[in-house]
């Protein structure tokens, strides 16, 4: 059974995670930049990935079963987790989030240093990096990538991640200066999402085979069948140069087929599957289950504040009290979740302990607040849950909240639609009342957590309809936290943000969920990533 050093057979144990992450994240905000000076080769991910049962062996094909197929080859527009998993191995990013400590560290960049009175981020690159097409990677390519993503015509969803950038200046082949107005803590974590592309490729990347500088080269994509990557023999970073010759990603929609394929040995790994299957697979000695503890994905319910009933504070607060979080985690997440009211878990330095008891399951409070909102015993109340099919946890959570409201006299409907319709109604027509989702980025820097996505930033794209005026001081506190390196000041600012959120509650946060993966015991060196920026460079197959 191939396990990582000091790791339980079933993956990263919760106790180990708590001790590691607690120590690692307990530093200061400045640590992000200080840690950033640590070369990649010394990262904890590298040590965690080192095999226990011998030296890594080169060769073989790693076959990975995923739930869906990728839907684009464009590095900056594709949003599916399966594409993140694939392209992380094709491209280099300036930084990466350590999968064990969750700290952000340099990857392609050698260092990040704030200069010019903290209005410029100096990025140093290694020399001798080449793209898969043989071109040399220089600061010009990094500038091209950053400028392209910031260009509205390119249509990248990452544009907002890089919004604080005013200009990108190339100093020489291996140095560039990213100009901002002040320190912007969201930038280095945002760079983990930015895939560096050769400028000769242009920006119309969806019709071209991906060319990156990562440890694996793109070989082919046969839609609905497989994506194949081949090892890049010239990868610049020998410490993470990749061991297996080929990685084949196979989209297999049916979960039971995926599991049967693993048990039959037809695939080496099932990447990301339902938490309800974890106990069963843990009991099977032929496979290893790797669990990322609950930290990044948080279950929330978007409440449409543009119309009744959730334009009323009491109704939103009632939703906060309406879910039996413990029951949901125990019954529907196989215990692999954590009830929370904050986007962060206690292991995160920005976690505000006061949020822990802000809302819990209390039908009496729900009844009282619903009455205060003008709907005694639910009379006159009208709302429904919009859930996407294929996401059973969303429906299960909605059903539990539905039952709470039913107990006080009103039973909201649950409307199940396919994912495309769900997304369109949330983001375009705004035709919904309440909708469950599990947005990511609970484990990254809060500057990115609060500036990205559709829940927290109070901008026109906000799903709930949150505007800056709705929560006085909210925007100012977010900016305070995002623009200083003083960890104490950042902590205070983000504590305020969390408490303001809970008072106004545009969208209750219910809990965090773990993610689970399983592989054959012959697979070594696999360290699952909390945000699906999954590298397979350290994975090897024992023969």
């Amino acid at each position: 059974m191939g396990t990582r050093p000091g790791e339980a057979e079933d993956g990263i144990s919760r106790r180990k995670f708590l001790s590691q992450a607690g120590l690692a994240i307990a530093g200061s905000a400045a640590a992000i930049t200080a840690e950033a000076l640590v070369p990649l080769g010394q990262s904890s991910a590298a040590s965690a990935a080192a095999p226990q049962g011998g030296q890594p062996q080169r060769g073989g094909t790693l076959t990975i079963s995923q739930s869906v197929d990728i839907n684009t080859l464009h590095p900056w527009t594709g949003t599916l987790n399966v594409w993140k998993v694939t392209k992380t191995n094709i491209y280099d990013q300036l930084s990466y989030q350590d999968p064990t400590t969750f700290q952000v560290r340099p990857k392609l960049a050698r260092s990040f240093v704030w200069t010019d009175s903290n209005t410029s981020l100096l990025v140093a690159l290694p020399s001798g990096v080449t793209f898969h097409n043989g071109e040399k990677l220089t600061a010009e390519d990094v500038k091209f990538t950053l400028d392209s993503i910031r260009d509205p015509k390119v249509g990248s969803w990452l544009r907002g991640f890089l919004a604080p950038i005013k200009d990108v200046q190339v100093l020489d082949a291996t140095h560039l200066k990213i100009k901002t107005e002040t320190i912007e803590n969201q930038l280095i974590p945002a760079f983990t999402y930015v895939d560096i592309v050769p400028r000769s490729m242009g920006t119309d990347l969806s019709k071209k085979n991906p060319i990156g500088s990562g440890p694996y080269k793109f070989a082919e994509w046969v839609p609905n069948d497989h994506v194949t990557l081949e090892r890049n023999p010239n990868y610049w970073n020998e410490a993470h140069a990749g061991h297996v010759d080929k990685i084949v990603f196979r989209p297999v929609t049916e979960l039971q087929t995926r599991i049967a394929q693993l048990l039959a040995g037809d695939v080496d790994m099932v990447y990301d599957f339902s938490l309800q299957e974890v106990p069963r697979l843990r009991a099977d000695k032929s496979v290893v289950v790797a669990v990322v503890p609950p930290a990044d994905q948080m279950f929330v319910v978007y409440l449409n504040m543009r119309k009744p009933p959730f334009n009323k504070l009491q109704m939103r607060q009632a939703m906060g009290w309406a879910l039996d979080r413990q029951g949901f985690v125990k019954n529907f997440l196989a215990g692999l979740g954590r009830p929370d009211n904050s986007p962060f878990t206690p292991q995160h330095w920005a976690f505000d302990p006061k949020t822990e008891t802000a809302y819990a399951y209390n039908p009496d409070n729900v009844a009282k607040l619903v009455e205060e909102a003008g709907y005694p015993k639910g009379r006159g109340l009208s709302f429904s849950f919009l859930v996407p099919s294929g996401y059973p946890e969303f429906k299960q959570l909605s059903t539990m909240v539905q039952a709470t409201f039913a107990s006080i006299g009103y039973r909201p409907a649950i409307e199940e639609v396919d994912i495309a319709q769900w997304a369109a109604r949330l983001n375009q027509t705004r035709d919904f009342f309440a909708a469950v989702d599990y947005p990511p980025r609970g484990s990254t820097d809060p500057a990115l957590t609060y500036s990205a996505g559709l829940l927290f930033p109070p901008n026109p794209a906000n799903v709930c309809g949150l505007t800056p005026e709705m929560i006085p001081g909210y925007v100012d506190e977010i900016r305070k936290g995002a623009t200083t390196l003083d960890r104490g000041a950042r902590k205070a600012a983000y504590f305020n943000v969390q408490e303001m959120w809970l008072e106004s509650l545009p969208g209750p946060i219910y809990c965090h969920r773990a993610t689970a993966h399983a592989h054959l015991s012959s697979v070594n060196g696999f360290v699952p990533h909390p945000a699906f920026q999954q590298s397979f460079a350290d994975v090897w197959i024992a023969r």
């Binding site: 197929d69 509205p152 969803w157 087929t257 375009q428």
Partner: protein, 320 residues
């Protein structure tokens, strides 16, 4: 015969034209947006709007339809918004998988249905007939996905005799290819056989009670000859119709079987296209499936005169 062929071929044109309108209207009225799917839930509205403009989805419906139909007329079924591969290329890859599955399933279905249907009809109310009828009902009642998963767990995960899903192309060897197709063909063929068996049994019972069969028997024709030359030949006419319809369904892609067994066939292609709102691919494939359906039925109609002398040109008015 020539008139019959021309009339049947021409009658296909308005059918296909109607299909293009219906298929296209589905893409208009179905909620959802490919731009939103590609850009993701977190994309700002201007990104989604940019993609819609790029793909021409902000054009009026009649303009989009006209462009689409004009392209079809020139043999261009469009390309995927997502993979940017042409519909013909995608179908070209997926169709052989579905065709192989359909042929193997139909073979299995025929191997089960024909002997059991005939024996059941020849010996009605016998133990065999009752058993076959009961088995047929069970076969009809078992959900295809459940049978598929059970087969995968038994023969793939437990016994490890066959692959637990996935497709091996013929280019990697006939043996490996067939091994990857046996379980899905059984899952699909078993279901299809139950319907075929019931149709054949009913058809045979009708024919065996007909006057001309009684006459043949009275004339002393051997039982086997009565069965094969007189009864089966006539019973095969409605059976062929059902077989044609079944083949049409199978060629249209068996979404559930292909999804359960992770086969990259037409059914899965069209399902993913619909879920992603990849309209070009979805309508292109649906149009091709509809065309295939119409053509298979045309072929079956044309086979009638071969099987039934009464339908031959000039001797029947049933098609006029």
């Amino acid at each position: 015969m020539a008139r019959y062929l021309i009339w049947r071929a021409v009658s296909v044109i308005p059918t296909l034209a109607g299909i293009t309108v219906l298929v296209f209207l589905v893409t208009v009225f179905i909620p959802g947006d490919p731009a939103q799917v590609l850009a993701g839930a977190e994309a700002p509205p201007e990104v989604v709007a940019g993609l819609r403009h790029q793909w021409g989805l902000d054009q009026p419906v009649y303009v989009r339809y006209a462009v689409w139909v004009t392209n079809i007329a020139s043999g261009n079924l469009g390309e995927s918004y997502f993979s940017h591969q042409t519909v013909l290329r995608l179908v070209g890859r997926a169709f052989p998988v579905t065709l192989e599955l359909a042929v193997l399933s139909l073979l299995i279905a025929i191997l089960i249905a024909v002997p059991s249907g005939i024996i059941s009809a020849v010996k009605p109310s016998s133990w065999f007939d009752l058993g076959a009828t009961a088995a047929g009902f069970v076969g009809l009642s078992i959900p295809g996905f459940w049978l598929g998963i059970m087969l995968i767990y038994l023969f793939g995960a437990e016994l490890r005799w066959l692959p637990a899903g996935g497709f091996v192309p013929l280019s990697r060897g006939l043996g490996a290819n067939l091994r990857s197709m046996i379980l899905p063909a059984i899952a699909l063929g078993t279901f299809a056989s139950t319907q075929l068996m019931r149709y054949l049994r009913a058809g045979m019972l009708d024919v065996l009670n007909a006057d001309y069969i009684r006459t043949a028997r009275a004339k002393g024709v051997a039982a086997a000859a009565v069965l094969v030359r007189h009864a089966m030949r006539n019973a095969l006419i409605p059976f062929m119709t059902v077989l044609g319809v079944q083949m049409g369904y199978l060629l249209g892609g068996t979404v559930i079987t292909e999804s359960v067994f992770a086969l990259p066939g037409v059914g899965r292609l069209v399902l993913n296209a619909i879920l992603n709102r990849d309209y070009q691919v979805a309508v292109g494939i649906i149009l091709l499936i509809a065309a295939a359906f119409v053509l298979v039925n045309l072929v079956v109609d044309l086979l009638y005169p071969v099987l039934d002398p009464r339908v031959r040109l000039g001797q029947s008015t049933s098609w006029r």
